[in-house]
């Protein structure tokens, strides 16, 4: 491997990393919001909306992100909806992630025994109070490992952004290989930069997981 090449490519990879993170965190935040709202809808079994959420989940969990991005970026402009590549990335990631987040939150919500809801009601708490103060904190705590897995999954999914001209890490590597054919250097930096992005997420995630493990007893 050529050290000079490696060093000269680092700024490009850094830019790509920043772009990936920028789109990544916005998309993930978006998916969290969708996840919470969607999970609440399924939990409360809101009529009509419940069906819509069900369709949404199946639609986005059973199509690849690549297809979703293609649709948003290339098909929607034909009917007059035009958004920038970055917004498209955020939207795609958020919608895909949202479907997964709903399911993760839902599994957390469903794991709380029904007896807790019944006890809360018998103590005179309202439906919303029960959800907000009793069920949700425990459900979130239980969902944390699943949510973290989703976050890492979504950050890795950014590697298909090349199709919509976003210079993410993967595309930067491919592009440099295409131009200068320094394959080993480019792929080496690619692995390193993905690790730089994802290892801290794993580590911080593990810390959060411990901090939030208050739902179970005797742990």
């Amino acid at each position: 491997m050529d050290k000079e090449t490696l060093v000269s490519y680092i700024p490009l990879y850094r830019d790509a990393l920043l772009l990936t993170l920028k789109i990544g965190w916005q998309g993930i935040l978006f998916s969290f919001v969708i996840g919470l709202i969607g999970a609440a809808i399924t939990h409360f079994k809101v009529k009509v909306l419940k069906t819509i959420v069900g369709i949404y989940i199946e639609l986005f969990r059973n199509t690849p992100l690549l297809v979703q991005l293609f649709f948003i970026y290339f098909a929607l402009p034909k009917v007059g909806v035009k958004i920038t590549a970055e917004a498209c990335g955020v939207l795609g990631l958020g919608l895909l992630g949202g479907a997964y987040m709903i399911e993760t939150f839902r599994s957390g919500l469903e794991s709380i025994p029904i007896i807790q809801t019944e006890s809360s009601y018998s103590l005179g708490m309202s439906k919303l109070q029960t959800f907000w103060y009793i069920i949700l904190p425990q459900a979130v705590s239980i969902s944390v490992p699943g949510l973290l897995a989703n976050v890492i999954f979504l950050l890795k999914e950014t590697s298909v952004f090349s199709t919509i001209s976003l210079m993410d890490l993967m595309f930067t590597a491919k592009d440099l290989i295409g131009m200068y054919a320094k394959t080993i250097e480019c792929l080496f930096l690619l692995v390193v930069f993905y690790l730089i992005m994802l290892l801290p997420v794993s580590i911080i995630g593990a810390l959060i997981e411990r901090r939030l493990r208050y739902a179970g007893f005797g742990d």
Binding site: M1, Y73, F74, P77, K78, K82, A85, S162, T163, I164, S165, M167, F171, K174, D175, I177, G178, M179, Y180, A181, T183, I184, F188, V191, V192, L195, L199, S202, I203, A206, L207, R210
Partner: protein, 295 residues
Amino acid sequence: MRKNIINKITGLTLILALAVVGLAGCGSTDKAAEQGSGEATSAESSSQGFRTLDEIKKSGTINIGVFSDKSPFGYVDENGEYAGYDVYLAERLGKDLGVEINYVSTEAANRIEYLQTGKVDIILANFTVTEERAQEVDFALPYMNVALGVVSPKDEVVKSLDDIGEDDQVIVISGTTAETYLTKNYPDIKLQKYDAYAEAKSAFENGNGVAWANDNTEVIAFAIENEGYEVGIPSLGDQDTIAPAVTKGNETLLNWINDELKTLGKEQFFHADYEKTLLDTYGADYEETLVVEQQ
């Protein structure tokens, strides 16, 4: 509990360190292998990363890398068959070698990779000869001329690259000579990069960029086939040539292709190729400019 976390962090750091060392190791072994194959003769062909002429003949199939989305040079027609100017040549090479052809669809950016890893024996994907590429692969004699061109919508034709505003984006395809040329000579122009022809085309049609820079053959074809576009800059940069490429060091195959191209030149093969595949798109005007025959 805190100890656990510290343990975990140390563990992860170790894994990272190992990964780095491991990868660095891979790098140096590869280099060693390269040097080895450079010295070795054809006796140990399997370690060279390419197949010699005899091995291809023996196996009965040749792998040829072509475009599947670059009409009219390399594309898949309505019957699902590969067709185009490059494919016409590929068919002839296969016939004269007496082997079956296995077409491998490539994208601009992975043409060099496909040769270096031995996934294909020949690249016939409108591959422009450049100095940088010649260091990585071996080019045979050329069979076509090419320059760069820029196409833009008719209502706002880009006549010169100096017209391009600060915030305007020019569409290019990753791994093409247009990308390298603009990166080198016009570093201030913002490039919007795509990794396949089909996507760049869709994006350009959707108005995502003010212009599209590519081989002039390609942009001329686009302007002819799609209404409302004009090639504002028909020729940009140096006049280049397009040639078949083989893996670096694959002399037997390279020599055979060169001899074959000379034979084909005698029968004016590429004029026939042009008339068969490109005439509909370009008309007769471009025949002498585009076609190269070896004498």
